[in-house]
């Protein structure tokens, strides 16, 4: 009853249980945070808009993304992954989501910023449906905690429009 084996076993089990309990509490504490994020995305320019040899449309944009996600950060936040996706519908596809830009915000100090950039990832359609297309630019963020449940949300900005002709 008092051998080393029994004591080690009891100790380790207790330690692991306490660790699991602390992790769940840490995760639950995130629910008390009420975030108030703001974001804005502007399309500054359509750089070019072409049909590729394989028949798919491709467009290159310059965006201005300004974001304030500092209210999302708690003591349990490891980083916030933020990305901007173009979302639109085509006759063949009920939903298309194409990520144009993403970034990692490692801490609260970096959470309020603006950036002026061309799209980091290529905006290519499955097919040739983009002429004159209306699309939304949705800013998504994913909060990755030090421990516990990840959660995500988004802000949808609509009203963007692609040119009727290639250029």
């Amino acid at each position: 009853m008092h051998s080393f084996g029994y004591r080690a076993n009891a100790l380790v089990t207790f330690a692991v249980t306490i660790l699991a309990a602390m992790c769940s509490l840490a995760s639950l504490s995130d629910n008390f945070n009420v975030p108030t994020p703001t974001a804005d995305v502007k399309v500054l320019n359509i750089n070019w808009f072409q049909k590729q040899p394989n028949g798919n449309d491709e467009v290159s944009l310059t965006l201005n993304i300004s974001v304030d996600l500092s209210s999302m950060f708690t003591w349990n936040t490891k980083q916030v992954f933020v990305f901007v996706a173009a979302e639109y519908e085509t006759p063949q596809n009920a939903l298309n989501q194409v990520s144009l830009w993403d970034g990692i915000i490692p801490s609260k100090e970096h959470a309020k910023f603006w950036i002026h950039t061309t799209n980091k990832y290529r905006f290519i359609d499955q097919g040739s449906n983009l002429r004159g297309k209306d699309f939304n630019l949705t800013l998504h963020w994913h909060v990755m905690p030090k421990t516990g449940k990840m959660f995500a949300d988004k802000i949808v900005k609509s009203g963007y429009h692609l040119p009727e002709e290639y250029r």
Binding site: A94, L95, S99, T147
Partner: protein, 146 residues
């Protein structure tokens, strides 16, 4: 003579009983661990409800050695989700983020493109030659926590 034989008998049966009890206890422990594991598989809907991160392709969010909890349900796959998938023919599960989704109007089938946060390029290099997209059946789970 009779009582020696009697004592030997009782000692042997005691040892046998102890040995049997220990064997049954061991069996119970192993079986309950198995039941717990299978139950977890059922609840989360994935084959491997807990995975360990193997590569540095999702840093700094997930480091090598981190434990991820997975869940899978019929909700449609959307951009930004962190999914676990197996490339055809390879056993190693890969944990990356979805960056493109194209969902068909009629069938609801999806074409999905993934990329590790820390990688320069998307995962087309990892997919088998000629495969441009992942489909739903390639994906075994969504990461919900660490």
């Amino acid at each position: 003579m009779g009582w020696i034989g009697g004592n030997l008998e009782s000692i042997r049966s005691l040892q046998t009983k102890q040995a049997l009890t220990q064997a049954v206890n061991l069996g119970l422990v192993v079986t309950s661990a198995l039941i717990l594991w299978r139950g977890l598989m059922c609840v989360t809907g994935t084959e491997s409800p807990v995975v360990v991160v193997l590569s540095g392709s999702m840093e700094p969010g997930f480091q090598r050695g981190d434990i991820l909890f997975l869940h899978m349900n019929q909700d449609p796959i959307r951009a930004g989700e962190i999914v676990v998938f197996n490339v055809d023919g390879k056993d190693i599960p890969i944990v990356h983020r979805v960056i493109e989704v194209h969902e068909r109007q009629d069938t609801g089938e999806v074409d999905v493109l993934t990329k590790g946060d820390n990688n320069e390029e998307d995962d087309r290099l990892l997919y088998p030659y000629g495969q441009l997209w992942l489909q739903k059946h390639h994906i075994t789970g969504r990461a919900i926590g660490t």
